[in-house]
């Protein structure tokens, strides 16, 4: 199998000198072509920091990130990001279609009409067919995040990075959108890396879960989720494989929290 992403000994500190805070303390893992990998860690452990480093949006303190063998130093071609804060990631002066088409801004050799047509197709793929003329502020939170997902898909990336994309939507929308994301991942053979603090979501979505420790964050262990690509909100969540994996991850996370200093719990 081709390795799409290789993170090796990644560390990241914020601040300088005596004030420096080491957030990531040496993270290593890989993502293979076509895989759906979840990275799960407690709130504030540096998930966004990790994802931004992979996306080339943050500099690393040490270690390396390689995309298809190429070191990542700036946002690379072939990586799309769905941000945690969807309300700020869409542009209110553009309607959904133009927001999605904007995801193809740097993709050459396409006419504006082609981009619009592709944008419509991507909106269709996330269940927003016919919403192209609507502006973000006319849509619900879940719909806005679907527009952001459509924009990420439109750029035809090798790797889709998802930063807690469903953290801010209500529970019902959330499980619908988990299935939507899984469906998209299968249909577009999209390699995905999801970071989340939600253990159930991490296990439900992934082929493999990378479990993080508390700060300075490292990889505690990985588990393969042997459930196949097709998941089902009821059956999967009752499957012994799911339950066992969930138990395993929950236990690790709880142990970090119990051993965490007071400030890391806040």
């Amino acid at each position: 199998m081709d390795i799409v992403l290789k993170v090796d000994g990644l560390t990241k500190s914020y601040g300088r000198g005596a004030d420096a805070v080491r957030v990531l303390g040496g993270i290593s893992f890989e993502v293979e072509q076509g895989e759906f990998v979840s990275v799960v860690g407690p709130s504030g452990c540096g998930k966004t920091t990790l994802l931004f480093a992979i996306a080339g949006l943050h500099s690393l303190t040490s270690g390396s990130v390689r995309l298809k063998g190429q070191p990542v130093t700036a946002p690379p071609k072939g990586v799309a990001v769905v941000f945690q804060d969807y309300s700020r990631s869409l542009f209110p002066w553009k309607n959904s279609r133009d927001n999605v088409a904007f995801g193809m801004a740097r993709i050459g050799g396409r006419s504006a009409a082609d981009k619009r047509a592709k944008a419509e197709a991507m909106l269709e793929a996330v269940g927003l067919g016919g919403f192209g003329d609507k502006y973000p502020w006319q849509l619900s939170g879940g719909m806005q995040q679907r527009v952001a997902i459509a924009r990420a898909l439109a750029s035809e990336s090798e790797l889709l990075l998802l930063d807690e994309p469903l953290a801010a939507v209500d529970a019902q929308t959330r499980s619908d959108m988990q299935d939507l994301l899984l469906d998209i991942a299968i249909r577009f053979r999209q390699t995905c890396l999801l970071v989340t603090h939600d253990v159930d979501e991490a296990v439900y979505m992934a082929d493999r879960v990378v479990v993080l420790t508390r700060r300075p964050t490292t990889v505690d262990h990985e588990i393969r989720i042997g459930l196949g690509k097709k998941r089902d909100q009821i059956a999967t969540r009752e499957n012994p494989v799911f339950l066992k994996a969930r138990h395993d991850v929950m236990t690790s996370i709880r142990n970090f929290r119990a051993g965490a200093p007071a400030n890391a719990l806040a």
Binding site: F52, A55, G56, L57, A74, P75, K77, V79, A80, V81, F83, D85, R88, S89, F91, P92, W93, F102, G103, A105, R106, Y135, P136, W137, Q138, S155
Partner: protein
């Protein structure tokens, strides 16, 4: 609220009409050309309008030129300074200082370099219009959320594309405020600069009328300027509704919860 607008406009006329009537009554009692009433002013407008329109042409043209120069230079500069945080912080005190300097104060300096012709006046107008434009654009651009920049970078936009497609539209609501203030300043300073550097234009016209005790003629010109100001204001308002609907609508839907 909309249903009552027609009625509101009608009742809004009561006060101005009352003032006009009172003014006319006082003018009759005074019975001197030094205190003309609205009727004499109307007669002056009727008599003088070809001259006034011609002179206002000069005034508006220079106001427009100065305004355009200021907008073309200051909007990009404001956005750039907002992005380059360190440079922005360095020039911020200078901007604050210039902002408190009244435009007529720069007249002698400008005269040294540019004389008293059209160029000199346009420079002064541009200076006056530049102040609210740079301040508002800079504040807007400085205040943009980091997320916008991160999205731009992850879409691999170039610096120029980011400024044009993200920073500019995101700053537009505040820039619009700056533009409105700049237009008012440009008109005001265009008239003032004519009075200081007399050649032609409505400012000169008003001055001449006053010097010759033609008070009604001066007031006629002032009435013209006010109407033009109103028309321009309305035009800007229409443009804002067209280009910034997303801003007003989205802040509405946010405050709804």
């Amino acid at each position: 609220m909309k249903a009552g607008l027609g009625k509101g406009a009608a009742s809004g006329l009561i006060v101005p009409v009352a003032i006009l009537l009172a003014w006319q009554a006082l003018a009759w009692r005074a019975g001197t050309p030094l205190f003309p009433g609205p009727w004499q002013v109307a007669l002056s407008i009727w008599k003088l309008w070809p001259v006034i329109v011609g002179q206002i042409g000069y005034t508006l043209m220079r106001a427009f030129a100065g305004f355009v120069v200021a907008a073309v230079l200051m909007i990009p500069l404001g956005i750039l300074l907002g992005r380059l945080k360190t440079v922005g912080r360095l020039v911020e005190p200078m901007m604050d200082m210039l902002a408190t300097l009244p435009p007529p104060a720069v007249v002698p300096i400008v005269m040294l370099f540019a004389g008293t012709g059209d160029i000199a006046k346009i420079v002064i107008i541009a200076y006056a219009a530049a102040v609210p434009l740079i301040m508002n654009t800079y504040e807007a651009s400085k205040g943009l959320h980091v997320m916008a920049n991160q999205v731009a970078r992850s879409l691999r936009l170039t610096r120029l594309e980011t400024m044009l497609h993200i920073d500019l539209p995101a700053s537009l609501p505040m820039i619009a405020t700056g533009l409105r203030l700049a237009i008012a300043s440009a008109l005001l300073v265009s008239v003032t600069s004519e009075m200081l550097l007399a050649t032609n234009g409505i400012g000169v016209f008003i001055q001449r009328q006053q010097e010759n005790f033609q008070i009604a003629g001066g007031l006629a010109a002032i009435a013209f300027i006010s109407v033009i100001g109103l028309i321009i204001n309305n035009l800007v308002f229409q443009l804002e509704k067209r280009w910034l609907f997303w801003h007003y609508r989205s802040s509405e839907s946010h405050s709804d919860g």
